[in-house]
């Protein structure tokens, strides 16, 4: 019987120098699949490679032998010796391998738990495996299950709910104040790298205008050009404050640029529209007392980091819930895997025939009531032998495939043809 095996390394087991030797070349995944296909004991395989992890999953007859073969392939691709790699590599089999894949897909094994990119990367790896025809009945189902687990984890737990980077946290806060960022104006004070990063982040959320104020106007004009905004001089900050909704301050100034009095002075002209200061400068550009003003909110870099930390602890708590979902799904998959051998399939087939027979007899009991007992008996025997004859050839065929390596395909087909797994919802 074939087994599911997994070999891999991630950000915890392998240093970046080792990970990048495999992940740096994007064509490596394809090469790895080609090489694995050549190994006779490997029937199906998939190769996942991102900057944080390298994973191979395979359905194989001889797990020991196949694992050694996969390790060898990884060494060749990365140009590293067996000794260098094997200390950083973990291997899992069956239930553990399934659980590992589900955890990877639902971002529970990520460096930043809950980060959304990994699912896309797993999907890409699967698409490549489909393209190279290295995935089969078991991997297909396993991967679809993995996507489903990821979806369940995302919707049923808060693992990927809240922002875990400073700029995300700032955008989320802005959303809690303004609801939508469409049509809002952003004033950037300082035109350095941080300002640019913040502006890029905000502009993907549909803000209408970016105003850039910088001590050297040329730099401000350059940044304004990039985002289709306009540049103003430092003296115009006060007037720009009247129109802005979000202010991102990131200058290197040793003293606060935005004083309490300045903001207080422009509140009336703003007609109390909310104003959100994001102060990512150290030392701070925005006087913290401004936070006390009505409808004005000031978050400095420490506050934002605090938000992020809070969110990370929350994610960790939520991941307990997620692990439970993963465990549930692993058990479900293993159950299915067990049915994918000859004897249970034949038993299920017989059971199905028997169930149909009884159901139909019960349905026609009214019409059969006028018959004598012996007639009814004969009728029943006839129906049963029709059933038996009908499933006899498939059963004989399945028994003959036991020794063949392609048996899983036939078993899967049989289960689908006769709908032996009930109403299987979600796949395909």
């Amino acid at each position: 019987m074939s087994r599911i095996i997994n070999l891999g390394m991630n950000h915890e087991t392998a240093p970046v120098s080792l990970r990048e030797c495999l992940a740096s070349d994007p064509s490596n995944s394809g090469k790895a699949l080609d090489a694995m296909k050549e190994v006779s004991s490997i029937k199906e395989c998939i190769f996942i490679s991102t900057c944080n992890r390298v994973e191979a999953f395979a359905v194989a007859d001889d797990p020991r032998y196949s694992a050694v073969a996969i390790l060898k392939i990884m060494c060749e691709l990365g140009g590293r010796s067996n000794e260098e790699l094997s200390s950083s590599i973990y291997s899992n089999e069956d239930g553990d391998a399934i659980r590992h894949l589900f955890r990877v897909a639902s971002s529970l094994d990520s460096m930043m738990v809950g980060e959304p990119q990994i699912l896309g990367q797993v999907k890409q790896a699967y698409a490549l495996a489909v393209e190279k025809k290295t995935s089969g009945v078991i991997l297909n189902r396993l991967m679809h299950r993995a996507f489903r687990v990821a979806k369940r984890v995302r919707t049923e737990t808060g693992v990927s709910e809240s922002a875990v980077s400073v700029s995300y946290a700032a955008v989320e806060l802005a959303r809690k104040i303004f609801h939508v960022l469409e049509g809002k104006k952003v004033l950037l004070i300082g035109a350095g790298e941080m300002a640019e990063l913040a502006a890029r982040h905000l502009s993907t959320h549909g803000i209408s205008e970016i105003i850039v104020a910088n001590r050297t106007l040329s730099r401000a004009m350059h940044l304004a050009e990039v985002f289709g905004g306009r540049a103003v001089s430092f003296n115009e900050i006060e007037t720009s404050l009247v129109e802005a909704d979000i202010v991102v301050a990131s200058t290197g100034s040793p003293e606060p640029i935005i004083t309490y009095e300045t903001v207080k002075g422009c509140l009336r002209k703003r007609r109390s529209r909310p104003l959100f200061f994001i102060d990512i400068a150290v030392p701070r550009d925005v006087d913290p007392r401004i936070n006390k003003l009505q409808n004005v909110y000031v978050y400095d870099i420490d506050d934002l980091k605090g938000v992020v930390e809070h969110n990370i602890t929350q994610r960790k708590q939520e991941s307990i819930k997620a692990e439970r979902i993963v465990q549930e799904e692993v058990e479900k998959f293993q159950k299915w895997l067990e049915t994918l051998s000859v004897v249970p399939t034949i038993v299920d087939l017989r059971k199905k025939a028997e169930a149909i027979l009884e159901h139909e007899f019960k349905k026609s009991s009214g019409a059969l009531a006028s018959m004598s007992d012996s007639q009814r008996e004969a009728m029943f025997v006839m129906a049963r032998s029709i059933c038996d004859k009908l499933i006899n050839d498939p059963v004989v065929f399945l028994k003959r495939t036991i020794s063949r390596s392609s048996s899983t395909g036939y078993l899967d087909l049989t289960r689908k043809l006769f709908k032996l797994d009930g109403d299987e919802d979600d796949l395909h």
Binding site: L173, F178, H179, R271, S272, P274, Q294, Y297, Y299, V307
Partner: protein, 279 residues
């Protein structure tokens, strides 16, 4: 008996209030859906009950405290449902449903008077007077609840304590626009209610205004809400200040609605309405 309908409606309100609280904590959409439909069916039964009572006593059923509270609760749910259609804000129900259920419970704990309405109470003017005032009050109740939500959410953001209900409450802009909407819709209704009441008083009592305590306090409440609207529209007040003033206005409204009617006498008081002494 029509009171069976009321009791079923009461239970539906309680169930839905419980469901909405569970939703507030668990954030599961299906919990919201169940609570919402439970509330809607409770509301429809309550509507049926009010119609039947209208027929039974031959006039708008507000002459005793029990009926008035039941109608108030009905108005709150109606206002909530209208604003839900407009904003689709799920968490609002977690505040509105328990609030409405609270008044339903008090209403159910008191005895109903089934005495038929006096001749003077069978007027379309009275129905308009009561209907507009109560719907206005329902909207002000939502305005009050929204203001509480606003103060909570503002506190979380200002103090940088992003735990608690921060994630569950909507954005400040959303809450503020619900508060604004409920205010500018409720105020004209209150105004129409007071004018129609005064016209009705002219018909039945021969005078538009007679310094009855309820009249005076209603006018004070009206002035307070007028001031709030003025500050919002003309000065541009919003957010926290507006929310605090909304809560103050609503306290005044409850005072006028309950305290004045119960203990300050006058022809509007439940005592005199029940005995029809006033007319």
């Amino acid at each position: 008996m029509i009171y069976i309908i009321f009791n079923i409606s009461l239970w539906l309100h309680l169930l839905s209030a419980g469901g909405f609280i569970v939703f507030l904590i668990s954030q599961q959409k299906f919990v919201f859906r169940i609570s919402y439909w439970t509330l809607l069916s409770g509301f429809l039964l309550h509507t049926a009950f009010l119609i039947l009572r209208y027929i039974l006593i031959g006039g708008t059923p507000v002459f005793d405290l029990s009926s008035a509270l039941s109608l108030f609760s009905w108005s709150i749910v109606l206002a909530y449902l209208l604003l839900h259609l407009r904003f689709g804000l799920m968490v609002l129900g977690s505040f509105a449903a328990p609030f409405a259920a609270f008044f339903m419970i008090i209403s159910s704990a008191m005895s109903w008077s089934d005495a038929p309405a006096g001749v003077g109470f069978k007027s379309l003017w009275l129905t308009v007077h009561v209907g507009t005032i109560f719907l206005g009050n329902g909207l002000f109740a939502i305005n009050f609840l929204g203001s509480i939500m606003y103060l909570f959410q503002e506190y979380y953001i200002k103090e940088k304590k992003l735990g608690g209900f921060y994630n569950r409450l909507p954005s400040l802009a959303t809450i503020d626009s619900i508060n604004y909407q409920s205010l500018v819709t409720g105020f004209p209704l209150l105004t129409v209610g007071m004018i129609s009441g005064s016209i009705y008083a002219q018909y039945t009592l021969g005078t538009y205004w007679q310094w009855d305590p309820k009249e005076v306090w209603s006018f004070v409440t009206w002035l307070a809400y007028a001031a709030l609207i003025h500050e919002r529209v003309a000065i541009g007040w919003r957010g926290r200040k507006a929310a605090i003033m909304s809560i103050g206005c609503f306290a005044l409204l409850i005072f006028t609605f309950l305290v004045v009617s119960l203990w300050m006498g006058g022809y509007h008081s439940f005592g005199s309405l029940g005995e029809k002494r006033g007319l």
